[in-house]
Symmetry: C2
Subunit: 417 residues, 2 copies
C-alpha cells in the first residue's frame, strides 16, 4: 500500500465532503447521528466479535491490564457509545450561531456567524469508543473527520466506523464525512501531521508519548494538552472542611485522568494555624504524600525529591509544599504547571481574583475539585479533548470549539467614501 | 551582532513583559497609549529628521514613488498616527470581557473570560506608522509585541518606538512590552518565524512576497492573508442602479488595497435582460475590463486571458465573466477566490442566503462595496491586518481578536461524584 497516496486520496475526499457539510441542515446531521446509534445497537454482536480479534492481538502484544480494559467492548459499553451519539445529536447546532451582530453608521449591518472549521484529523490510542465520540463531534460542527485509531483497536474501530457511515448515508450526507485510516502503518500518522492542504486541525487523544510526538512533528495546528499537572493552593482564608473534601476528591476520585491533582500548595500561615488536616485525610485514603521540609512535620509524609514537583503522577501520589501566600502559589504554578487546571481554596474574594488573573491556565478554579475539568461537567455534552494552548480552542473542546466564523455584511447599495 | 542571541533575549524579555501585562489595569494601558501619542507630537521634528535619513536610504536604493510615499512622514501624518493611538486608548479593554457565563447542576458557576494571547510578532514593510498602530493594538489587548519593520524605515520606526516606550514608562508598564528588532539583518525574521517558545502568533503586514515567505516558513501560527481576490457577483435579481454604484466603487475607489474588487461575475439571465451598464461605467472610469467571450459583446471590453481569473491586479483592471446563477458564481469563487471578501448584488433574500452559506470567505457581503473590508469600517477602531485562515482570528483583526480566553470556575466546596 502506498501510504502517501492513500492519505492524499483521503484528504481530497475529506475536503470535498467538508464543502458539502458546511451547509448540511441541522436535521440531517442529527439524523445521521441517531441512525449511527441505531446501527451500533443493531450490529452489537458483530462489534463484539471484531473486538474479540483486537483483544487477542492485544494479548499477544502483551498489553497491560489497564490497556486491555480500555480496548474491551461489551454490550453495556456499546449501549453507552450509542447513548453518546444520541446526546450529541440532541445538542443545538453550533453552525450558524450568530456570535455578534451590529449596525454601522456607514449603513452596513454586520453579523459574525459560526461556520465549520473544515477537516479535523483525530489521532488516538486504542480506545475504540473515541471513533464514535470524535466522529460525532466533528460531524455535529459540520466538519469532515479523518480518524486514526490505535493499531490494537483496528477491527473494533472499523466496525464502529461502518455504523457511522450507515448513519451518514441514511441522512443523505456524504459518506466521506467521517473516514477511518485503513492501515496500521505508522507512516499514515506522519502524513496526517503535515497534510496542511487538507487538514485544518489535528486533535491527538492519548498519553504523553502520543501527544508529544504530534506536537513536535505537526505542521497542522493542534488542539491538545501534553500533561495535566493540576495544583490546589490552600490559602490562609481557606475553609478547612471544604478543603479536606475537595483535596481528597481532586486526588483520589480517579488518579488516571488529566484533571487529577498532582501538587498541593499550602499557605505557611494556614499551616501554622490549622495544620494540614487534608494531608491526614490523603494519607488515610492511602495516598503517598511527598512533602517539602516544612510539611514533613506531618506524620506519614515522605520527603519530596526535586523531580516530584511538576510531575504528572497519574497515581495515588501527590507532591506538597508550603508557599508564602497566593503570590508564592502563583510563582510555583508558573514554574511547574502545565496550563491545564489549577485551583485555589479560599473564602477571600480579593485573593481569589488575584489567583484568577495571574494563573495562566485554561481552567482556574475556586473551591471546587480539579476533577471537574471535563467537557461533560462543563455542560458541553461531550469533548474531543482538552487544550492548553491559547490559539482558537482552550480548555475542554466541544462541538462549539470545532467551529470558525465568517462575517456577513449587508448594505443597501453602500459605497465607501 | 549574534542575531540568534539578540532575538532570544528579545523573546525572553517579551515573555516576561507579557506575564505582567496580562494583569495590567485598563487605566495603565490607556495612559501608556495617550502618553505615547503626546511623545509623538513632542518629538515631531526628531521623527521628521530621522525619516529624512530613511528617505535618503530609500532613494539610493531606488524605491518606486509609491513606496517612497508610504515611507514618508510629515507633520500631518505624525498627527494622524498620534490620533490613532488615542483612538485605540479610548476603546473598551478587550481583556477581562466575560464571553459567556453559566451555572451547572453540579453547583459550579463557569465563566469564559478574555485573556491576552501572550507575545505577538509583527513583521512589516517600510510603513513607519505600522510601528505605532501594531504596537498599540497588541498593548491594548495585554500582549507583548516584537516589531520588525522594513529596513528602509529603520530610523523612523526607531524613533516612533522610543515614543511608545516613553508612554509605557510613564504608565508604569514594562518597557519591554513593545520591542523593536534593533537590526536590519534579515536573519532576525527567520528567528521570529521559528521562536515558538517565545512568540504566540505572527502577523505579517505587506505584499504577497512578504506574506508568502512568512506563511511558508513560520512554525509560529500566523494571522494573515496572502491576496485579496475579491469577487462581485451580479445576480438575476440585482438592482441595476445600486449595482452600478457598488461595482465602480469596489473597483476604482482605491485599486491598491486588498478589498478592491478584482473579478466581476454576471448572471447570464441578468445580462440578457439588462446588458451590463456597470461595465460601461467601469470603462468610462478608465478601467481595463477583461471579459470572457460573452461579455466581449460589450463595446470596449478586452478579451480575458486564462490568467486573468484568480489574479490580484491591484490596478485599474478587472476580469469579468458570465455565470449561470448563484451556483455558477459560487463555483467560480471556490476555484479562483482567496477567501478574503466576496459580494453578491441581489434583492432576493433566498439567493443571498445561498451565497452567504456556500461562499467560504472571511467576509461575505450583499449590496455593499468590497472596499468596506476594513477593521475601521467594521467598527473595530483599528486593525492589525486581515486574516483569511480559519484558526482563531478571521477577517479584520482588531484588539478583540488578539485575545485568548480562560475558564473561571467557582464552587462552594464542590466535589465530583
Amino acid at each position: 500500500m502506498d501510504v502517501k497516496q492513500v492519505m492524499t486520496e483521503i484528504g481530497q475526499k475529506a475536503k470535498a465532503a467538508a464543502a458539502k457539510l458546511a451547509y448540511a441542515s441541522s436535521e440531517a446531521k442529527q439524523e445521521a447521528l441517531e441512525k449511527a446509534a441505531d446501527a451500533l445497537i443493531a450490529r452489537k454482536d458483530d462489534i463484539i466479535a471484531a473486538n474479540g480479534k483486537d483483544l487477542e492481538f492485544g494479548r499477544d502484544k502483551g498489553l497491560t491490564d489497564a490497556l486491555m480494559d480500555r480496548l474491551m467492548l461489551d454490550s453495556d459499553r456499546i449501549d453507552a457509545m450509542a447513548e453518546g451519539l444520541r446526546a450529541v445529536a440532541a445538542q443545538a447546532d453550533p453552525v450558524g450561531r450568530v456570535l455578534a451582530e451590529w449596525d454601522r453608521p456607514n449603513g452596513l449591518h454586520i453579523k459574525r456567524v459560526a461556520t465549520p472549521l473544515g477537516v479535523i484529523g483525530v489521532i488516538y490510542e486504542s480506545r475504540p469508543n473515541v471513533t464514535a465520540d470524535a466522529g460525532a463531534l466533528c460531524l455535529k460542527a459540520g466538519n469532515a473527520a479523518i480518524l486514526r485509531g490505535g493499531s490494537e483497536s483496528f477491527h473494533s474501530a472499523g466496525l464502529i466506523h461502518e455504523c457511522l457511515v450507515t448513519g451518514l448515508e441514511a441522512a443523505g450526507l456524504p459518506r466521506d464525512a467521517v473516514q477511518l485510516v485503513p492501515t496500521r502503518d505508522r507512516a499514515a500518522v506522519g502524513e496526517m501531521l503535515t497534510m496542511t492542504q487538507f487538514i485544518d486541525v489535528i486533535v491527538p487523544r492519548g498519553g504523553k508519548g502520543l501527544v508529544g510526538r504530534v506536537q513536535a512533528d505537526a505542521r497542522v495546528p493542534v488542539f491538545a494538552h501534553l500533561e495535566g499537572i493540576c495544583h490546589i493552593y490552600v490559602d490562609a482564608a481557606a475553609d478547612v472542611e471544604k478543603t479536606c473534601a475537595v483535596v481528597v476528591n481532586a486526588k483520589t476520585r480517579r488518579t488516571g485522568i488529566c484533571g487529577s491533582a498532582e501538587c498541593l500548595l499550602v499557605d505557611r500561615g494556614f499551616f501554622e494555624t490549622h495544620g494540614a488536616p487534608f494531608i491526614e485525610d490523603l494519607l488515610k485514603a492511602g495516598v503517598d504524600v511527598r512533602g517539602d521540609a516544612g510539611l514533613q512535620a506531618v506524620d506519614g509524609v515522605n520527603a519530596a525529591g526535586p523531580d516530584d514537583f511538576g510531575k504528572e503522577f497519574l497515581d495515588m501520589v501527590i507532591a506538597a509544599k508550603l508557599v508564602d501566600g497566593v503570590e508564592g502559589a502563583i510563582a510555583h504554578i508558573a514554574q511547574y504547571g502545565s496550563n491545564h487546571t489549577d485551583c485555589i481554596m479560599t473564602q477571600d474574594d480579593a485573593v481569589a481574583d488575584v489567583f484568577f488573573q495571574k494563573v495562566d491556565s485554561a481552567i482556574v478554579m475556586r473551591n471546587a475539585s480539579t476533577q471537574f475539568a471535563d467537557g461533560g461537567e462543563f455542560g458541553m455534552g461531550a469533548e474531543i479533548g482538552i487544550a492548553t494552548g491559547k490559539m482558537h480552542a482552550r480548555g475542554p473542546v466541544g462541538a462549539d470549539q470545532l467551529t470558525s466564523f465568517k462575517y456577513i455584511v449587508e448594505g443597501d447599495g453602500a459605497t465607501r467614501p
